[in-house]
């Protein structure tokens, strides 16, 4: 994957995980969703700042390797930690109910397109 395929938002090029997200959105919905709705990326970056990780580090945090085989897997416990951080993020912004879900949807979308299965009920 190259930045050239990851939509036209220049901030997408900086992180591999954001490029994957951008490409996933383009493939799923067409157009260039991170450009058409810049709030999505702003929300992700604000959340990353809140939890003091880059987007790439956030995705990497959710994955562990099995000690026996080295196989990579998404950690349930770590997903839970990210969900807790997301709840905290929403609380600091005073976002609850549908507003909170809409805000968290950007972060969840980013994680889902990077293979980290999370749904709104976890947040």
């Amino acid at each position: 994957m190259t930045p050239a395929t990851a939509g036209s938002n220049p901030e997408c090029a900086q992180y591999a995980s954001v490029r994957i997200w951008a490409d996933g959105l383009i493939e799923q919905w067409g157009g260039d969703p991170l450009v058409e709705d810049a709030q999505k990326l702003r929300t992700l970056l604000a959340f990353c700042e809140h939890c003091e990780r880059t987007p790439d580090e956030l995705v990497a945090f959710c994955y562990l390797r099995k000690r026996t085989t080295g196989e990579r897997f998404v950690s349930r416990k770590r997903r839970g930690q990210v969900a807790a951080e997301l709840r905290d993020f929403l609380a600091t912004r005073g976002a609850s109910g549908l507003d909170g879900r809409r805000l968290s949807a950007a972060v969840l979308s980013f994680l889902i397109h990077n293979g980290v299965m999370m749904h709104t009920g976890m947040v």
């Binding site: 549908l98 949807a105 969840l108 709104t120 009920g121």
Partner: protein, 260 residues
């Protein structure tokens, strides 16, 4: 609805109106349909427990959810938790078979009598079956048939529905499940937020890959005239994808605050 049209419009509905309750009489009709399903030896293994999602404590609901079905369980206003009661055959000891003899469903024409049940069917077939490795397969097959009748009735009543798994441990505690019941699936039930088409009839393997004639090497030949007839009757519908589906999902995501 016509029967074939019900078969045709059934989809696994995953977008429910989370706040629209389901009428109690419609839920009962779903259960009634399960009850009259075909069932080996009239045992009736299926047990179903209806729970309104809003009455499940939030922390319990979270623990019931599986990773891939969590949102469906969260949106569906009604959950019907399905179990198979493996103890039933040794409790009834053939009595329901004898009831079938009494009412003329089973008859001497086919070898049935009370004595046949008491001396052969229960002690030599059914009781050993309950001790065999195949027992749970037999029970699960029947439960699947009964559950499907309930599922189709839900669509006939204008509801949407979707089977999902659930985490058995919190469910057992919440529902007071006896030790000889085994968890199956939960039927998530409610009014659709998505269209009835829900993106079109799902892709399926080729007919000839699944069904055979005479032996397992000879595919059953599909007659296009029959296909055309079933299309007219509404059983075979426009296959997915249909053009407006992605926009529909996106609209639903924005309405419900879901990730895109």
């Amino acid at each position: 609805m016509e029967f074939k049209a019900v078969l045709g419009i059934r989809r696994s509905i995953r977008f429910f109106d989370p706040d629209k309750p389901v009428e109690r009489d419609k839920i009962q009709k779903v259960l009634e349909a399960m009850r009259i399903a075909s069932c080996a030896v009239n045992a009736h293994w299926l047990r179903a427990i209806v729970v309104n999602r809003s009455e499940i404590p939030p922390d319990t609901l979270e623990r019931l959810k599986t990773p891939v079905a969590g949102l469906v369980q969260e949106l569906a206003p009604v959950h019907i938790y399905c179990y198979m009661d493996l103890g039933v055959v040794n409790r009834i000891k053939g009595s329901r078979l004898k009831h079938l003899v009494d009412v003329g469903a089973l008859a001497p024409t086919h070898g049935w009598s009370h004595r046949f049940v008491d001396e052969l069917v229960y002690p030599q077939i059914l009781k050993p079956l309950t001790e065999s490795a195949e027992y749970e397969y037999s029970a699960a097959f029947d439960c699947g048939g009964a559950g499907t009748q309930g599922l189709l009735t839900a669509f006939d009543e204008g509801l949407g529905a979707c089977w999902t798994g659930f985490n058995a441990e919190p469910a057992a505690a919440m529902l007071c499940i006896p030790s000889d019941w085994r968890p199956l699936y939960v039927l998530n039930l409610g009014y659709r937020l998505e269209s009835a088409e829900a993106g079109g009839q799902r892709p399926r393997p080729d007919f000839e890959e699944l069904y055979f004639e005479g032996n397992a090497n000879t595919p059953f030949q599909r007659d296009p005239r029959v296909v055309a007839e079933l299309e007219r009757d509404g059983m075979l519908m426009t296959p997915a994808p249909i053009p407006e589906r992605m926009q529909e999902i996106r609209d639903l995501a924005r309405q419900l605050g879901l990730p895109e």
